[in-house]
Amino acid sequence: MKDGPPIQLMRLKGLMRKEAVQILRDPSSLGIAFILPLVLLLIFGYGVSLDAEHVPLAVVAEQPTPQTAAFAAGFARSRYFAPRAYSEIEPAEKALRHGEVEGIVWLRGDFSRKLLAGEVPDIGVFVNGVDANTGRIIEGYLQGMWNNWQGQLAASRGRPYHFPVELEQRVWFNPGLRSRDFLVPGLIAVIMTLLGALLTALVVAREWERGTMEALLVTPVRVPEILLGKLVPYFLLGMGGLLFSVAMAVWLFAVPLRGSLWLLLAASALFLLTALGMGLLISTVARNQFVAGQVAIIVTFLPAFILSGFIFDINSMPVPIQLLTHIIPARYYVAILQTVFLAGNIWPVVLPNGLALLVMGAFFLTMVRRRTSKRL
């Protein structure tokens, strides 16, 4: 082997140009970088929401009276519920079973009589628990409505009622609890994972499969040059996709960006290198587009979706699973994104997570370097 610097600019330029031409010739790479984020952000941004509103609710008043009307009026005013009046319990139960309503509030025939007589009537509340999270949210809404009603009833009797302990909640960073504000930054992490891995997962495998890798190996080109030649064009493409996603998050979805854009970009560059490194590693190890594609589907999207803290809280997972999430790069990136978007430049969050990304990126790229040799 000839001596000389491991990287020669001219050769590197040539390789990068070849890769760029390949990107431009096959529209699917450009599609991954720009169409994919566009489509996904639009669908996710509008489609993923945990805010239940206008929940269809059956309100059963077996004997309509002014008291039951006053109780039911609260639901009609609320934006959380879309009440439907029933006069018997059976049809309401059937509606709940068929999924036409999500819950039932049941005021029995003796509701008004007991209430006026100073006895304590029972109000039955049934919620469809199949979707446990929504079920719990609906129960929370119902509890709130119920507290309001108690207050109003006491006031109308001239004996204002107050609770011994009054809960005053202050939600920082997202006082309106808009789920979109936390989901969109997380989505950027999911999209960047897909983008990085998809862009590179097939590029090395394709060269092996077509035999062009062997052709490349007999040229004076060095391994670091081959890898950089692959990495740089896709990195630039990926950063383009990222800027595009951030612009959409801020201008289309009105997510506040409280931290600095530069910090966001730096963290994203680190993450993109990690994701590209992961894709290159898959591609290098698989040497076969079919297998590389299968692996990319399995190790990127679902772990980034479920194990990154993007939607499910990592703290609440069982301890072994929590440990496992540490090998998912998206986990660190999600933490940084959610903090930089909603809270600001908070170094105690950004630094450890950024460091973790740095370590993972270096690990993947070193592994790629080691698994690519000039021998067959």
Binding site: L36, F44, G47, V48, S49, L50, A52, L96, F111, V120, D122, I123, V125, G129, V130, A132, N133, T134, G135, R136, I137, E139, Q143, R159, H162, F163, P164, V165, E166, E168, Q169, R170, V171, F173, N174, R178, L194, L202, R206, N288, F290, G293, Q294, V295, I297, I298, V299, F301, L302, L307, F312, D313, N315, S316, I321, T339, L342, A343, I346, P348
Partner: protein, 369 residues
């Protein structure tokens, strides 16, 4: 005809399973993911780290705080002596909430005034924040009730009996695990089918296949059967695990469940083959699989309810086969649904499957380059 189809199916299986890595990829990861995701994907909160800033020296504040210490949902992670310490605790995610009780908490309570309990929550994850506020509210409500009882305050004018149907303890896992059956079955089926035609086109063997006596329908069936066999096998295994390992109640009829699985596989294979026959290269096939898979999962109602989506996205979900299958599988598992209730989910899956398969079969001959 069947002999030829079986021969082609055998060849597909060989192509899929002869390579050790490829065999591994189809069989092992879905099973590992089932275990990991089923434990990971939960909206229930455990061990929420919190801190207390208690300026009150009285007994009532201690009584209230004891209820938090006694709850499995919360884990005390620190105390606060000054208001100024709160931001750094929350910002750095050391705690998710801080409870603040003022200096007159016990006195106010004893005098019959309202005593405020201030709750400061990290809202970066709005869903966690909402669930957490709900937990705190229920502890406070319980405390208020027992305080009112022991101190002769007026009790509330009516009683609320809350019950949730089909899932009495509102366990997320009962909702998520059946969803994972659909999710992983879709992933496996797409992996098996979406690259199968593209690979042959790229390798040039598809042209050879077209000039054999095999008719397009036979080629189609030969490509469909492996997906079916693998999908049914893995689907059944995951269903078995859901019942035996995760103890999700299976209340409805198995035939209704399998009718749903069959139609779902039909639609997933249809979409996979359709993508595969449009794609010229495997990279395009992979991109197509992702472009279908990701929205199909997100819009299916797997993690976030379809009812929360805006109207036009809700219409879009009607094209998503996973949406229907999730309704079937959750209906059969938790609600004990039978055939009669599930027709509205069956026929759209059949339609999606047949349309896509027909299109894929047509594309076999009409896309030649």
């Amino acid at each position: 005809m069947w002999r030829r189809i079986i021969a082609l199916t055998k060849k597909e299986f060989l192509a899929l399973l002869k390579d050790k890595r490829s065999r591994f990829v189809v069989i092992v990861p879905p099973l590992v993911q089932l275990l990991i995701f089923s434990y990971a994907a939960t909206f229930d909160l455990n061990r929420i780290p919190y801190a207390v800033y208690n300026e009150d020296a009285g007994f009532a504040s201690r009584q209230l705080l004891a209820r938090f210490v006694g709850s499995a949902n919360f884990e005390l992670a620190g105390g606060v002596d000054r208001e100024g310490q709160i931001p750094s605790l929350i910002d750095s995610k050391k705690v998710m909430m801080v409870l603040h009780l003022g200096p007159h908490f016990t006195r106010d309570l004893l005098l019959g005034r309202s005593a405020p309990l201030q709750l400061i929550v990290d809202g970066r994850n709005s869903n966690t924040a909402a669930v957490l506020v709900g937990y705190v509210r229920s502890i406070v409500t319980d405390f208020n009730e027992s305080w009112a009882e022991t101190h002769g305050l007026p009790i509330s004018p009516a009683r609320l009996e809350m019950r949730s149907w089909f899932n009495p303890n509102l366990e997320s896992r009962w909702f998520i695990v059946p969803g994972i059956v659909g999710l992983l079955t879709l992933v496996v089926t797409l992996i098996v089918t979406s690259l199968s035609v593209a690979r042959e086109r790229e390798g040039g063997t598809f042209d050879q296949l077209l000039v054999t006596p095999l008719r397009p329908l036979e080629i189609l069936l030969g490509k469909v059967l492996p997906g079916f066999i693998i999908g049914t096998g893995e689907g059944s295994f995951i269903i078995l695990m859901a019942v035996l390992w995760f103890h999700v109640p299976l209340r409805g009829s198995l035939p209704a469940l399998y009718a749903g699985l069959f139609l779902f596989l039909l639609s997933a294979i249809g979409v996979g083959l359709m993508i595969s026959s449009i794609a010229v290269t495997q990279q395009q096939g992979l991109l197509g699989a992702f472009l279908f898979l990701v929205p199909a999962v997100v819009l299916s109602g797997f993690a976030t309810p379809i009812a929360n989506m805006p109207a036009f996205i809700q219409h879009l979900t009607l094209l998503d086969p996973l949406r229907y299958f999730l309704l079937v599988i959750r209906g059969v598992f938790l609600q004990g649904d039978s055939f009669g209730l599930l027709w509205p989910q069956y026929w759209p899956m059949a339609l999606i499957g047949l349309v896509n398969l027909a299109a894929a079969g047509w594309l076999f001959r009409h896309r030649l380059y």
